[in-house]
Symmetry: C2
């Protein structure tokens, strides 16, 4: 997603520096040579590339920083970057809940502020937006959430992207963190009943939005956020395609979740849904949100090996 966003900024005439951790070397190398980006399958355009060691150079004098690390990368990367990031807006598509120093689960913006030890002008970028389609100029809606959302929206302006903005960073981050979990559930129906289970999938989708809206409110967000792009929209795109849906499909066929996650990881398909279900369940337990039967069922199936069939059927029919 970082590369796709970098392309959009570069196409918009900005001077873009794309920095990667040492894990990103295989991705940066062809780009440096002017070849296609290995995942996006297209050339990124006019931008500069920075390997892991050159973090300070990449950040020096930046007017806006895009922080597109995975949720696992937030603490290690921000530990290095915090003192180097200028006092400018930070736009981040990173999603998930992270363990704070207190031992409790926190949102990504809260974790970044804790690691940085200061206020960060953090803006969360949520979908519905698949990276590869952003890069390929498919018409896309995004939602930016945070005090500096409008500044970031103006900076990332592009003919194919419409960005709506909100101050509700809590709501938007909660939606982004939860959608991978619920998308896994949609995939479970495919695996369990096959393609002709539209009714069951639509029931799950409806109830997932209902649960998301209640977690959003419990987290101090606005309920409308769950009904907009960050909620309804992003769950739609995540459930229609992608690894979390596939992860769910395998589970629906009766395979244990841990085995599925390992198999998919072995072919380079990391499934965010797997850890997302655990951290979302923990986050909502700490927040004391009641009546989340779908999330509970996902947790029980994926992390406690409960039988998939009766567990998902029961919740869809009793909510």
């Amino acid at each position: 997603m970082g590369s796709a966003m970098a392309k959009v900024f570069a196409d918009g005439g900005h001077d873009v520096r794309l920095w990667g951790t040492w894990l990103d070397d295989p991705m940066l190398e062809p780009c440096e040579r002017g070849d296609e980006h290995p995942r996006l399958k297209l050339k990124l355009g006019k931008l500069s590339f920075y390997r892991a060691a050159r973090l300070a150079d990449a950040l020096a004098g930046a007017e806006l920083v895009v922080s597109a690390v995975s949720s696992d990368g937030v603490v290690p990367v921000w530990t290095k970057a915090a003192s180097l990031v200028p006092d400018v807006p930070v736009l981040s598509p990173t999603k998930g809940f992270l363990v704070a120093r207190s031992g409790k689960m926190a949102r990504v913006d809260q974790t970044v502020a804790e690691v940085a030890g200061r206020h960060v002008h953090y803006v969360h970028a949520s979908g519905p937006a698949k990276a590869i389609e952003i890069a390929r100029n498919v018409p896309t809606l995004m939602t930016f959430a945070g005090a500096a959302a409008s500044v970031c929206a103006k900076a990332m302006a592009a003919p194919h992207i419409h960005i709506s903005t909100t101050a509700d960073i809590a709501g938007a981050e909660v939606c982004s963190a939860l959608k991978n979990a619920y998308a896994t559930g949609l995939g479970i129906w495919d695996g369990l009943l096959g393609a002709d289970s539209h009714n069951a999938r639509a029931a799950w989708f409806t109830q997932a939005i209902d649960e998301m809206s209640r977690v959003v409110v419990a987290a101090g967000g606005h309920i409308e956020t769950a009904y907009g792009g960050a909620g309804v929209g992003d769950l739609h795109v995540t459930a229609a395609a992608g690894r979390n849906r596939l992860f769910g499909e395998h589970i629906g066929r009766g395979k244990p979740a841990k085995a599925v996650a390992e198999e998919l990881a072995a072919i380079g398909q990391l499934t965010e849904g797997y850890p997302a279900i655990k951290s979302a369940w923990q986050y909502t337990r700490e927040l004391g949100v009641e009546r989340l039967p779908l999330l509970k069922a996902l947790y029980e199936i994926v992390w406690e090996n409960k039988p998939v069939d009766e567990t998902v059927k029961k919740v869809v029919l009793t909510v």
Copy 2:
């Protein structure tokens, strides 16, 4: 849908009489012989069949009436049936807007009451529920709306169906009428950009829910109805599969809507989306609902032959 609901009632132990208009003879005939229902591809179970002329017999002493005619059939069928329908709950999945005697567009329940010339205990049955999957026991969520919703929900109780009830008949009927229109729009993206247009489809889905919620409120309904099964859920199932999506896909490839509707009709695929877009646009004009760029774009493409590409791209990117 009438046959699928009849099967559920019969499986639930009710004494069910399935009546059909003369148009339904080819459907009733194999059922009368004990063969499979030609569309649902399964046997309906223990129920009695009534041909068109036996309407009075079919309705005599009924404790609950299911009115599952198409929107075109509402006025002709209710003109015949009104004096024969007992003073019992009427459960109806019929969706759409109809022309009232005043010449203005009205909801189905309003039209039924006008034709009957009396109060009807009308309950609207909305999805997300494909008929064939209801008949095949796929887990399904339904929403019944109206004063007698709970009575109807109790009567149609089945192990695979969860029915939520609401008094908001206006909101639920508006959602049901609009979903065929907006589902057509989702199909347009498939035709226009191919399968890899998830972002555009999710943007459209999000904005469609937003428009639906505003029409619901303007019609005197509750905004929550648009965010539940009748809105989010039913648009999800309609957009994922079905004729309206297919209708949109052909239009997205650049074929004029009228020609597509005629071609599909010739192979027995009537597309409700075609007239639904016109009647929905007219209904919202009469109601004075502003800011419906998606519905306006659909009307312009389908009924005024505006170029599909720029019309849909513009609205998704400017909402």
